[in-house]
């Protein structure tokens, strides 16, 4: 099962490596990891996408909680939540036909073209992982020059939240 684990962690040097080290030392899967400071500069918010059986996820949550730098965490996938990932993708767009088709696909997926040259378009697209995957699939006939994905971030729906 895929889980999204959200963590509030002390914004200190080495905190990220403690989390990353834990995953590699205990052979847990890590699909993506994002981290950035919150509105409180002493805290960072980290989002980890991982997979595992219920027993493994339980251990991951417990082991993360055991790290001294981890202040609080929640498994977003336990309740209703919103997840988003951002992608920047550079596509070859040299001919008129190519430029039109890429523009059309970009509109369908509600992306934005954020940079244009005579031979390329760079598109920004935000959404769930599946939407970004579908967009890459839809671009199959075009030459993708570069793909940059942010990794998943997420937040609980409604009143529920992860804060101090």
């Amino acid at each position: 099962m895929r889980h999204i684990i959200s963590i509030l962690i002390e914004n200190e040097a080495g905190a990220l490596s403690r989390v990353a080290g834990l995953f590699s030392a205990r052979a847990y899967n890590i699909e993506s990891l994002t981290v950035a400071p919150t509105e409180d500069p002493s805290l960072s918010r980290m989002t980890i996408v991982t997979t595992g059986t219920d027993r493994i996820i339980e251990q991951i949550v417990k082991q993360l909680n055991k790290l001294i730098d981890v202040v609080k965490l929640m498994d977003l996938t336990e309740g209703p939540h919103i997840e988003r990932e951002m992608m920047l993708i550079k596509v070859k767009a040299a001919t008129m036909a190519q430029r039109e088709d890429v523009k059309r696909l970009c509109d369908i997926f509600r992306g934005h073209i954020i940079d244009v040259t005579s031979s390329t378009y760079t598109i920004e697209l935000t959404g769930a992982v599946s939407k970004l995957d579908s967009f890459i699939e839809a671009l199959a006939e075009h030459k993708i020059i570069e793909t940059v994905r942010s990794g998943v971030t997420g937040i609980a729906r409604g009143e529920k939240s992860l804060h101090l």
């Binding site: 490596s17 080290g21 030392a25 251990q59 417990k62 909680n65 055991k66 001294i68 730098d69 202040v71």
Partner: protein
């Protein structure tokens, strides 16, 4: 009061009440060593290798329950300490290790004796710190002691760059009384509802079993445990790490369980209907085959570390809390409950257990013309009236010491259980002897293990530590040889110790007493002679039977009821195999 970083460090140790600092100087910690000069409060013990500093601090911590403290230099000082830090980590021993670091200006430039100490120790510490500002130093040290000694204890490393300890830079000193960390608040008190459920379940048990571990010793819960076990009248077994928490000489004690546990303890684990696990972590050397672990039992698990619960074995009633707190509450409930344990069923259960006990699984050949290692340990118990502190290295001798010494008190049995570190025994014994100068401290070792930290004989002379080293010398890496006999068709690949030193001469050259014992008839007299030398370190080089094995033995990945038995135990029944 304005102090330099080096002076702050030393003052922090004084304010923390540190008696002994185990260390080794070097470039990055010279300012700190200068601050240690001309003061008497913190006594520095100069070891001969940084690994020994950590093991000595570890032995001190295991015997006293207070954190052990270490000071080493950067680079090789730190890397040499890593084995000892990992040893402490695996057995949850409170320890604070101060490592020197190159100056902040050159960190990351591959400076002389630079190593990323925080990075290299990260997987084997409870937590670690790099001090980047002298103003954070005192609070960081306070945090280190707090984290190391609370909750599930463990080693904490404080990495201190040389410029932070510069004697020319002074700042006001204040050592905080306590620290509050929003990200670290260990649970002590168990959940009342869960404790009630657990008590109800144990009172309904027909074949109960109590399984205790190192958490009882570390949590100082031995008194509460004794009260608990005696009230219930249930059988109790212990892991290697928990020995002594409950007296080995008591009738309710079935001996150690697991890979080299007793027949009765392992069989009772297999057949019990309620298992009460207290401060134990279901280690693979204890559980054997996971799928067949306690197949009939409902399991109660008391542990201070939530991540120990349901890690390998799923439990029915988890209780997160410190062992003495939870046991106190259980004892209170049991005393005031109108329900009593299932007396008749438990009596029948004891009859079954006595049947297993009558196999006398710990029997060995007492008429051999060779010295039997088991006999040596039994004699040690007799000569020291069971009151010695016993450290060990790792291998067969460790198991025999655990099986045959019979520990009646906690904190007396000091060994590397989790990491299994050869070389642990002698330096650990130094730490214990410093803590208890009047007590007898024995290091039970082998001719293989002792050579891994033998340089510490020199430290023992410098500080007058009269440790008794008992080397069971079978000219083999005995446990490796045993596995090769059982599982590799007697192919003794590299398990023979050739070119052994003359341990008597070696010991004498270090200024101590060496005694070699070769015949069973000399054993008692020679041991008594050596132990009578109260103020001397004596190294007993005891030539033991080369082919002796540790029994019983559950092969790796086998179930509790599948044991290799000693050929000298009573005849086999049912499913167990004999191996002669």
């Amino acid at each position: 009061m304005e102090l330099s970083g080096a002076e702050i460090l030393v003052q922090c140790l004084k304010d923390e009440g540190v008696e002994y600092l185990f260390g080794y100087p070097g470039g990055a910690v010279l300012h700190i060593y200068d601050a240690l000069y001309n003061q008497e409060d913190v006594k520095h013990i100069l070891v001969r290798h940084e690994q020994a500093a950590t093991h000595a601090a570890d032995g001190y911590a295991r015997a006293t329950g207070k954190p052990g403290v270490v000071l080493v230099t950067s680079g090789p000082g730190a890397t040499n300490a890593v084995t000892g830090i990992a040893t402490a980590y695996m057995d949850s021993i409170p320890m604070v290790v101060i490592t020197g670091q190159v100056s902040t200006a050159v960190i990351g430039s591959d400076a002389f004796q630079e190593v990323d100490a925080v990075g290299i120790t990260r997987p084997c510490v409870k937590h670690n710190f790099l001090v980047k500002d002298i103003n954070d130093l005192a609070e960081t040290v306070k945090k280190a002691f707090y984290v190391a000694s609370t909750g599930r204890p463990g080693p904490v490393v404080v990495d201190v760059p040389k410029d932070i300890t510069d004697p020319a830079v002074k700042v006001p000193y204040h050592y905080p009384d306590k620290v509050n960390m929003r990200s670290y608040q260990p649970t002590v008190k168990g959940h009342t509802g869960q404790i009630k459920r657990a008590v109800d379940l144990m009172l309904s048990a027909k074949k109960p079993m109590i399984y205790t571990g190192g958490g009882v010793v570390l949590g100082k819960g031995s008194d509460e445990l004794r009260q608990f076990v005696r009230h219930l009248g249930f059988p109790i077994t212990s892991t290697l790490m928990g020995l002594g928490a409950y007296p080995a000489s008591d009738k309710q004690f079935l001996g150690m369980l697991g890979m080299h546990g007793t027949y009765e303890a392992n069989m009772a684990m297999h057949d019990c209907d309620v298992l009460i696990a207290i401060g134990a972590r279901f280690d693979d050397r204890v559980t054997g085959k996971i799928a067949e672990f306690c197949p009939h039992a409902q399991i109660i698990h008391v542990d201070i570390d939530p991540s120990s619960i349901s890690k390998t074995i799923t439990v029915d009633i988890p209780i997160v809390g410190s062992v003495p707190d939870v046991l106190q509450e259980m004892n209170h409930l049991l005393k005031n409950s109108n329900k009593k344990p299932q007396k008749k069923a438990v009596e029948e259960w004891w009859n079954i257990i006595e049947g297993w006990r009558s196999k006398q699984c710990m029997s060995y050949d007492r008429n051999s013309d060779k010295i039997k290692p088991q006999a040596v340990v039994e004699l040690l118990h007799e000569i020291t009236k069971g009151e010695a502190y016993v450290t060990s290295d790792v291998g067969q001798h460790q198991m025999w010491a655990a099986q045959y010494y019979g520990f009646d008190e906690p904190n007396r049995w000091i060994n590397s259980g989790g990491l299994g570190t050869m070389g642990f025994g002698l330096p650990a014994a130094m730490g214990v002897q410093l803590a208890y100068p009047e007590s007898t401290v024995i290091c039970v070792t082998g001719e293989g293990s002792i050579q891994m930290c033998i340089q510490e004989l020199s430290t023992c002379l410098q500080y007058g530590l009269p440790v008794k080293i008992v080397a069971l010398n079978n000219r083999y890496l005995g446990m490796v040889r045993q596995w090769q006999e059982f599982f590799y068709e007697n192919r003794y690949s590299h398990s023979y110790m050739e070119s052994l030193p003359d341990f008597v001469k070696l010991t004498e050259s270090y200024g101590h007493v060496g005694i070699r014992i070769e015949k069973p008839e000399d054993l008692r007299a020679e041991l008594e002679r050596g132990f009578a030398m109260k103020d001397r370190l004596v190294f007993f080089d005891i030539v033991t039977d080369q082919t002796e094995n540790v029994y019983p033995m559950i092969a790796q990945g086998k179930a509790h009821n599948d044991m290799h038995m000693s050929p000298y135990s009573a005849p086999a029944q049912d499913s167990e195999r004999e191996l002669s």
